[in-house]
C-alpha cells in the first residue's frame, strides 16, 4: 500500500489538510471519552455548576478509590470482577465448545451430523434479545438468577465460533491428518497436538471479539442480576443514577464508565492485529 501510492500521494498543503481532517475526526470520536475522564478527576460541585472544566482536576485518585471500594450500590471492584468472570466465561466457554463440535463435524462422519449442522446454522440468526423472555424463564426455573452460569450459558448458545473453526479446519491439509494417523496419533491426540496449536491465531482473534462481546452485554445482566453484588460494570453504571438526576454522583459514575472501558480497550488496542483479523474473519 504505502510503497504503491506514487503519484496519487498527497504532498504539502494537501497532506496537512488530510491530517487536519483526521485530527478533527479523532477529536470528535474522543471528546466524549475525554470529557468522561475529566469528569472523573474533578469534584461534584465543579460539574454541578456548568460549564464543567475541560481539563483534568486533581481528584483522580480520590474519585477512583471511592468508586472501586464503595461505588453507589455495590463496589465497582466487585462489578469489575463479575464482568471479568462473565467475559472470560463467554469467550473461553464458547471457544471450547465450538472447537470440539467443529472438530467433530469436520473430522468425523456420524449419524445426525447433517442435522446438527443445520441446527447450529439456525442459531446464527437469533440474537439473545429476540428470545429474551423465555430464556429468562429457563434461567429462573434452573435457579440460575444472580449466578455466573446464568450470565454465561445463554450467551454461548450460538454457533458463530463453530462456523469459524469449521471454516479453518477445512483449510488444514488432509495429509496432516493422514500423517498423524500413520504416526499413530488417535483423533484426540491429533486434535490436541496438531489442530489446536495450528488454530492458535484464530483462537486468539476470536477471543478478542468474544471477550468484548461478553464484557459489553447489557440487557441480559440487567434482567437476571437483581442482586447488586452480581451486577456487571456495564449494567451497573445505569443503576448508579438516582431517580431524579440532580443528585447523581457524576465523578464516581464517570470514573466507573472509564473503568468499564479500560479492559476492553486494552484488549482491542493491545491485540489490534488479531482483533482486526478476528473482526474481518468472523464476518466472512
Amino acid at each position: 500500500m504505502a510503497q504503491q501510492n506514487g503519484m496519487v500521494e498527497k504532498r504539502g498543503a494537501g497532506l496537512w489538510l488530510t491530517h487536519l481532517g483526521l485530527i478533527i475526526g479523532v477529536a470528535f470520536i474522543f471528546f466524549p471519552i475525554w470529557l468522561a475522564f475529566v469528569a472523573s478527576t474533578v469534584e461534584q460541585q465543579q460539574i454541578a455548576r456548568p460549564p464543567m472544566p475541560l481539563l483534568p482536576g486533581d481528584k483522580l485518585f480520590e474519585n477512583y478509590a471511592r468508586a472501586l471500594s464503595a461505588g453507589v450500590n455495590a463496589p465497582v471492584a466487585q462489578m469489575l470482577g463479575n464482568s471479568l468472570v462473565m467475559a472470560l466465561g463467554i469467550a473461553l466457554g464458547k471457544i471450547a465448545i465450538s472447537l470440539l463440535s467443529a472438530f467433530a463435524i469436520v473430522y468425523f462422519r456420524f449419524p445426525g451430523r447433517k442435522l446438527f449442522f443445520w441446527l447450529i446454522f439456525l442459531t446464527l440468526m437469533l440474537p439473545v434479545e429476540v428470545r429474551i423472555v423465555p430464556t429468562y424463564e429457563v434461567i429462573a426455573n434452573f435457579g440460575m438468577l444472580n449466578s455466573y452460569q446464568g450470565l454465561i450459558l445463554p450467551l454461548i448458545a450460538s454457533a458463530t465460533a463453530t462456523f469459524l473453526f469449521r471454516q479453518f479446519f477445512m483449510t488444514v491439509p488432509d495429509e496432516l491428518a493422514e500423517a498423524a494417523r500413520v504416526d499413530g496419533a488417535g483423533p484426540m491426540r491429533f486434535f490436541f497436538d496438531i489442530l489446536l496449536p495450528m488454530s492458535r491465531t484464530n483462537i486468539a482473534a476470536l477471543f478478542v471479539i468474544l471477550f468484548i462481546y461478553g464484557w459489553n452485554q447489557y440487557l441480559w445482566p440487567l434482567l437476571i442480576t437483581t442482586d447488586p453484588d452480581m451486577n456487571t460494570i456495564v449494567m451497573g453504571i445505569k443503576q448508579m443514577f438516582p431517580s431524579g438526576d440532580d443528585t447523581a454522583d457524576w465523578p464516581v459514575i464517570m470514573a466507573t464508565s472509564i473503568l468499564a472501558m479500560i479492559p476492553p480497550v486494552l484488549v482491542v488496542v493491545g491485540m489490534q492485529k488479531l482483533f482486526i483479523r478476528g473482526l474481518v474473519e468472523s464476518e466472512k
Binding site: P173, E175, L176, E178, A179, A180, R181, V182, D183, G184, A185, R189, D193, I194, P197, M198, R200
Partner: protein, 334 residues
C-alpha cells in the same frame, strides 16, 4: 523389514470400482514403483496399503499378516506424502520425533534415532527450525527423516518428488535410491514419472484404469510390454503406433515400434517426408509424416546425418522389434 502381499485387491467408491483386482507378492527389501497416468488408481492402491483407505475386497498382507482392518500405525509402515505433510508448528526435530513420542519410545532412544536420521539426510543444522524456514528439498528430507526414524517394515512414497524443481528431483531421486539400498527396507513408491519409475524400481507396476497392466523389472517392461498402453507409457519418446496395413502386416489391430528401433535409410520398408527434426545434441528426434498423414518419431544417434525438412526418406527396422497388439490392446505372440 517385511514382505507385502496384495491378493485380488479391489476398491470401490460408492458403486464405481476404481481398482479392479491387483495381485503382487513383494519380496523383503524390494523397491516397487507403481507408475501410471493420473487417475489410474496408483495413489489409491498405496493408500490401501497404508491403511488410509479401506479395502473393498481382497487382501493386503504385510509380513504374512492380513492387515485389512489394522490401523495405519499398527501396520509398521511409514509414509512420505506428496506435499510432505510436515506439522507446521513443530520444529524439524519434533516432526521427526512425533511418531516415536506417541509410541512411547524412551527419550534417549528418540534422540539417537533422530540424530542418526538427521546425519544421514544432512539435516543436522536445521533440527531447531520450523518447516516454513526450510527449502523445498530440505522439507522433502524432513519428510523422509520422519519415515526413517520409525524403522518401519515398509516405506510408502506418494509422489514425493513432484513438488520439487527438475534439478532437485534428479538429486533427490538418487538419494532415495541410495537410502533404500542402505536401509534395505521394502518400499512402495507411487509416481506418474516414468523416468523415476525406470531408475528407482527393482520391479514396477504399470497401472492403467485401475488395472495392473504389467508387473516386472523396468528393463523387462521396456523390452517386452504386455499391452499397447504399457508400450506407449514406458519409454521416451513414446512408442509409435502404426496401422498394420501401412507396413504390410496382418493379424494385428495395431503395430508398435519404438523410435530408437528404426533407422532412416535410402530405401526401406516404408517412406515418409521429414516434418521437422529436433537436434538435442547427443541424439536427434526426427518427426516424419507417412503417406497417409500419420506421424512417426525416429530417434537417432548424433553420428547420423540430420535430414532436411521436406526430404523424403525411407525407414527400416528389424522384424523382431515390431510389437503386435490385438483390438483390446493385448500383446500378440510374434
Amino acid at each position: 523389514m517385511a514382505t507385502v502381499t496384495l491378493k485380488n485387491l479391489r476398491k470401490s467408491f460408492g458403486k464405481t470400482e476404481v481398482i479392479h483386482g491387483v495381485d503382487i507378492d513383494i519380496q523383503d527389501g524390494e523397491f516397487i514403483v507403481i507408475v501410471g497416468p493420473s487417475g489410474c488408481g496408483k495413489s489409491t492402491l498405496l493408500r490401501m496399503v497404508a491403511g488410509l483407505e479401506t479395502v473393498t475386497s481382497g487382501e493386503v498382507g504385510i509380513d504374512g499378516r492380513v492387515v485389512n482392518d489394522v490401523e495405519p500405525m499398527e501396520r509398521d509402515i511409514a509414509m512420505v506424502f506428496q506435499n510432505y505433510a510436515l506439522y507446521p508448528h513443530m520444529s524439524v526435530f519434533d516432526n521427526m520425533a512425533y511418531g516415536l513420542k506417541i509410541g512411547k519410545t524412551p527419550k534417549s532412544e528418540i534422540e539417537t534415532r533422530v540424530a542418526q536420521a538427521a546425519k544421514m539426510l544432512q539435516l543436522e543444522p536445521y533440527l531447531a527450525r520450523k518447516p516454513r524456514e526450510l527449502s523445498g528439498g530440505q522439507r522433502q528430507r524432513v519428510a523422509m527423516g520422519r519415515a526413517i526414524v520409525r524403522k518401519p517394515a515398509v516405506f510408502l512414497f506418494d509422489e514425493p518428488l513432484s513438488n520439487l524443481d527438475a534439478k532437485l528431483r534428479v538429486q533427490m531421486r538418487l538419494e532415495i535410491k541410495a537410502l533404500q539400498r542402505e536401509l534395505g527396507v521394502t518400499s512402495l513408491y507411487v509416481t506418474h514419472d516414468q523416468v523415476e519409475a525406470m531408475t528407482l524400481a527393482d520391479r514396477m507396476i504399470v497401472m492403467n484404469g485401475g488395472v495392473a497392466d504389467q508387473i516386472g523389472a523396468p528393463l523387462d517392461v521396456y523390452a517386452d510390454p504386455q499391452t499397447a498402453f504399457v508400450a506407449g507409457f514406458i519409454g521416451s519418446p513414446p512408442t509409435n503406433f502404426i496401422e498394420p496395413a501401412l507396413i504390410g502386416q496382418t493379424g494385428a489391430a495395431q503395430i508398435g515400434i519404438r523410435p530408437e528401433h528404426m533407422q532412416i535409410t535410402q530405401s526401406g520398408q516404408v517412406e515418409g517426408s521429414v516434418a521437422y527434426a529436433e537436434a538435442l545434441g547427443a541424439e536427434t528426434l526426427v518427426h516424419l509424416r507417412l503417406a497417409q498423414g500419420q506421424m512417426i518419431t525416429v530417434r537417432q544417434d548424433a553420428s547420423h546425418p540430420i535430414p532436411q525438412e521436406g526430404d523424403t526418406v525411407a525407414l527400416e527396422w528389424a522384424a523382431q522389434s515390431l510389437m503386435r497388439f490385438d483390438q483390446a490392446g493385448k500383446r500378440l505372440a510374434d
